[in-house]
């Protein structure tokens, strides 16, 4: 094989057809209210961890829904479990439990 000085890269596109939805299934069974998200971003806006880092709680549960759980694994650790997100969610999503469920899914599925 020849080294040309650059490489072919897996593209960044979310390929829904090749998504990994095992995490979504498990997380949903643990916290069904995740379906109610309307993507408003209230959770991210009030997030204590988000105030200091680029932690974005709204994005995290969205990528799980898109079958792209890989990117959240490191991110999840940033959550401080203050629970403010849950107070502000206009749809009553149990965000605190949702994060626990995502952690649990990573524990089980790796």
């Amino acid at each position: 094989m020849i080294d040309f000085g650059y490489t072919l890269t897996r593209d960044r596109q979310l390929d829904f057809d090749r998504g990994d939805f095992r995490y979504l299934k498990l997380v949903k069974s643990l916290e069904p209210s995740m379906d109610l998200c309307i993507g408003c971003g209230s959770c991210t806006a009030t997030c204590s961890a988000g105030g200091f880092t680029d932690f974005n709680i709204r994005k995290l549960h969205t990528v799980i829904r898109r079958g792209d759980p890989e990117s959240i694994k490191a991110e999840l650790k940033k959550c401080m479990f203050c629970g403010k997100c849950q107070l502000v969610c206009p749809r009553g999503v149990n965000l605190r439990n949702l994060i626990l469920a995502m952690n649990r899914a990573i524990e089980i599925l790796g």
């Binding site: 094989m1 020849i2 040309f4 000085g5 650059y6 490489t7 072919l8 890269t9 593209d11």
Partner: protein
């Protein structure tokens, strides 16, 4: 797929293309990599009784410099204005470009002047100060593929070969690739618009082939100007082409036809690079998919010798396609110079079969 739906769209993008007396400007990329293509354009235009002139004083439009952002817009506009001045001085008004980047730039400049007349005025002053030249805007601006599209039936009538497999009688399966700057910015300036351009489809259909649509048809070949010009960025370029190859492979295309300078070069060379990087090939029997410019294909249809067209400087060999179409060629003459002396043979790649 309902072809009638596309036809309805094509009907809505009728572009006016001049019939004769063209002032021709060349393409930097094509002169380097497909010198035979431009030569062939002149050859069949002459055969079809059309007048095409070239002024040796014309230069690059600076489009690649402009789109890699080292050349300011004002400079590019004045370079364009100078080419128009050469056309005006030659007494012509139908301007034809060989290059798609140029075609896009000419279109963008004319459109800008339309929206901002003061910018046109400034360009005229710039050109006057720098060169003393004056110019009229072309009456008709076309890309050389537009002109070939217009003459496609005449080419078919004069043709000796067709895009048909001689053994099976079936049409050759062709995917077309349109240069991004052909109609993306100004859909009305392209034959068939931006979504389903008809310019190459019309040639393929009238020359006997079957057009294959595939999901990534519209995707850029990945040139991206600075994305290829600088080695560190070439992963962008090759990854984009790979996306196209992966998408077209299930449709088993036998030819990729292009109308842009960079695209045929990249679609040809990246097949080589991908094969050398990961062993993947995209054509039949572990070979590559031949890539051609519309001039080269027109030349084949008209019965010109493949080695006069310059098909020997393709990295993906075209011989399997020539065999299918029943076009004779002499393998012994592939690497001869103009006096018939053997130049030497290029090295064979590790995966792509070379003849």
């Amino acid at each position: 797929m309902k072809p009638g739906g596309k036809r309805q769209i094509w009907d809505e993008y009728q572009k006016e293309i001049a019939d004769d007396n063209y002032f021709y400007v060349r393409s930097c990329v094509r002169q380097n990599f497909f010198p035979g293509a431009e030569k062939t354009f002149f050859r069949y235009m002459k055969q079809l009784g059309r007048n095409v002139v070239e002024n040796p004083s014309h230069t690059t439009c600076s489009g690649i410099g402009y789109h890699s952002d080292i050349v300011p817009f004002e400079t590019a506009m004045t370079m364009v204005a100078r080419q128009f001045a050469l056309m005006t001085e030659a007494g012509y008004e139908n301007f034809v470009t060989s290059c798609i980047t140029s075609f896009g730039l000419y279109s963008e400049v004319l459109e800008t002047w339309e929206h901002f007349p003061e910018v046109e005025e400034q360009t005229r002053i710039h050109l006057r100060n720098a060169t003393g030249r004056e110019f009229l805007k072309p009456k008709n601006l076309a890309h050389a593929s537009d002109v070939t599209f217009k003459l496609r039936k005449e080419i078919a009538d004069a043709g000796r070969y067709r895009l048909v497999n001689q053994d099976t009688g079936k049409p050759i399966r062709v995917v077309e690739h349109i240069g991004c700057h052909y109609s993306r910015m100004f859909p009305n300036k392209g034959v068939g618009g931006a979504e389903y351009p008809y310019v190459l489809v019309g040639m393929i259909e009238d020359w006997g082939g079957e057009v294959i649509d595939y999901p990534e048809r519209r995707h850029c070949c990945g040139f991206g100007f600075r994305q290829y010009l600088v080695k560190a960025n070439r992963g962008y370029s090759i990854s984009a082409s790979k996306k196209k190859f992966d998408s077209m492979k299930p449709y088993k295309p036998e030819l990729i036809l292009t109308n842009c300078p960079g695209c045929p070069m990249f679609l040809d060379r990246w097949q080589y690079a991908i094969s050398e990087m990961e062993g993947t090939t995209y054509g039949e029997n572990g070979q590559g998919i031949p890539v051609m410019t519309y001039e080269e294909l027109a030349g084949l249809i008209l019965g010109y010798d493949p080695w006069d067209l310059g098909l020997q400087v393709h990295q993906v060999p075209v011989e399997p396609l020539l065999d299918k179409m029943g076009i004779p060629y002499d393998p012994e003459k592939k690497f001869l110079d103009i006096d018939g002396n053997f130049i030497g043979k290029p090295k064979s790649p590790s995966f792509l079969k070379f003849y």
